[in-house]
């Protein structure tokens, strides 16, 4: 049992890192790449804190083996928008959708994936879409309001693509 080289793209940068076969994507992002924006809550698939994008789809990084992402394109909260605050981030801050903030990166990554597929969701669609993410502080209503506000803003003024380094 030895380390293997994992070559993939994280937030639009090519990355090469030696990882153990039993390390999850969350472990590698946080420990090897110092991208600690991605949080580990339960590490068992029940809370959604660890949500990142793998090839454009929202995935739980705690239940994804790092080596299963060979060649994949990963986006984390750090890469959402590098030089400018993303409308989702601003809406979460302004609506009080974030208190302790531990769940926020997961909520924002899942909301972002959801809005890409459905730019104009109803309140019920937002609730269903975010039903795999848990927040123990806000009581969810402010989160739903934040997503609605960001969705309106993003429909009016599409977000510029993150700048490649």
């Amino acid at each position: 049992m030895s380390k293997h080289i994992l070559r993939f793209h994280v937030n639009d940068r090519a990355v090469e890192v030696a990882v153990e076969p039993w390390h999850t994507l969350a472990n590698v992002l946080r420990n090897d790449l110092n991208l600690t924006g991605t949080k580990i809550g339960c590490d068992m698939g029940t809370c959604g804190c660890c949500t990142v994008h793998v090839d454009g789809k929202a995935r739980l990084s705690c239940l994804t083996l790092a080596l299963e992402c060979q060649g994949a394109k990963i986006a984390t909260i750090e890469g959402l928008n590098e030089y400018e605050i993303h409308p989702l981030q601003r809406a979460f801050a302004e609506c009080g959708g974030s208190q302790c903030g531990y769940c926020t990166p997961g909520f924002i990554m899942q909301s972002c994936a959801m809005l890409k597929e459905n730019p104009d969701p109803t309140r019920d669609e937002i609730k269903a879409g975010l039903s795999g993410n848990l927040c123990r502080c806000t009581g969810f209503m402010k989160i739903y309001e934040a997503v609605e506000r960001a969705a309106t803003e993003m429909r009016e003024k599409p977000v510029s693509a993150p700048v490649k380094a």
Partner: protein, 353 residues
């Protein structure tokens, strides 16, 4: 809190043949990995982990989905959003876990899901404090501590009653689905219902090294009235604690065929086939639920409220949920009847999901 995975070697074959070969090479010391949403949490708890993990995620042969057949590697979200599979199957897929887990989880993993129990799905530390159980590391069962052997009450070191917790299995069984496996001795196809067999440890008639390739639906799956109802503590994330899948055919309001499959009440899903109670497979002796005991004759009868009541009473009486997953067994037992009654009425009145 980070939960460390135990150490293993990861294999990533790209063809079915290669995967079968790898499985033979590491016989007895490997697990297949598909989406990982069931295997990895179990590994993190130190539950029956092995030295080799063979990923099935890169095998294109497992990923096709058509009107009549669904590959084992197809993700749950792609079943949920597919417009060609029967609506009841897509609906049931949408009831599984949460949107995030459905993005990773696959059909194969859902049908081969490990059974669940309060005393099993716990961290190594937790289990260590109480003493391990039969299903992992131990020699006794905490849910059924004693069994009757030759009239004497003895310590149960034989039978595990962990609960089968897949949502899709009961729906696909009600529709009469077949499953195809590829293994070292070639491929075989059997009825999904015949595949599930045995106690909470054995769970199915699975030959070592066999890979689930696809599920095939009979033509009738598109023609019958079918649906699924699930009971769980929360509407999202949670495993079912009772689930009822029904396939019904009516002829001028009279029952032509009726199959009810109940999940999450026993060690396997339980099929109540009201159409053919005569030629049923011998039931697993571990199964406490006996669908064919005092089964009412409903064929050719008008499906009125009274008949629906008779059918749901029978199901409620026969289902024997155990105290090893959330919610009271007595409540879950009652809900098996309630879900059946509601679903049958909806299907009769033409309400579709």
């Amino acid at each position: 809190m980070t939960m460390l995975l135990p150490k293993f070697e990861l294999h990533q074959p790209t063809t079915l043949a290669e995967a079968v070969k790898l499985a033979s090479a590491h016989a007895g010391d490997f697990d297949f990995l598909s989406g990982g949403t069931d295997l990895l949490p179990n590994y993190k708890c130190g539950l029956n982990a092995h030295g080799h993990v063979i990923s099935l995620a890169h095998i294109a042969e497992l990923k096709t989905i058509t009107r009549d057949s669904i590959g084992a590697g197809v993700r749950i979200v792609d079943i949920e959003r597919n417009a060609d599979v029967p609506r009841s199957v897509a609906f049931t897929a949408g009831q599984i876990a949460s949107p995030l887990l459905r993005q990773s989880g696959t059909l194969g993993g859902n049908l081969m899901l490990d059974n669940r129990c309060h005393f099993f799905n716990q961290s190594y530390f937790w289990r260590n404090s109480l003493g391990y159980c039969l299903k992992a590391d131990g020699d006794r069962c905490h849910v059924v501590p004693m069994i009757n052997e030759g009239g004497k009450s003895v310590l149960n070191n034989k039978v595990c009653v962990a609960t089968h917790s897949s949502d899709l299995a009961p729906m696909l069984i009600a529709l009469g689905a077949d499953v195809t496996f590829a293994g070292p001795d070639g491929s075989r196809t059997i009825k999904l219902n015949d595949f599930y067999y045995g106690d909470g440890i054995a769970r199915f008639e699975h030959r070592p090294g066999e890979i689930l390739v696809k599920v095939t639906l009979p033509k009738s799956a598109h023609e019958v009235r079918s649906g699924y109802k699930k009971l769980a503590p929360r509407q999202s994330i949670d495993f079912p604690v009772a689930g009822v899948g029904i396939a019904l055919e009516l002829d001028a309001g009279k029952v032509k065929s009726l199959r009810v499959a109940v999940g999450a009440v026993d060690t396997t899903p339980v099929l109540f086939d009201f159409s053919k109670p005569a030629n049923v497979k011998a039931l697993s002796s571990y199964l406490l639920t006996d669908p064919y005991k005092n089964m009412p004759d409903v064929m050719g009868k008008q499906l009125d409220n009274a008949l629906i009541e008779t059918i749901s009473k029978h199901i409620q009486t026969q289902c024997q949920p155990k105290l090893n997953v959330p919610m009271e067994p007595g409540y879950r037992k009652k809900m098996c009847g309630v879900l059946t009654r509601r679903l049958l009425a909806e299907l009769r009145d033409g309400k579709t999901v």
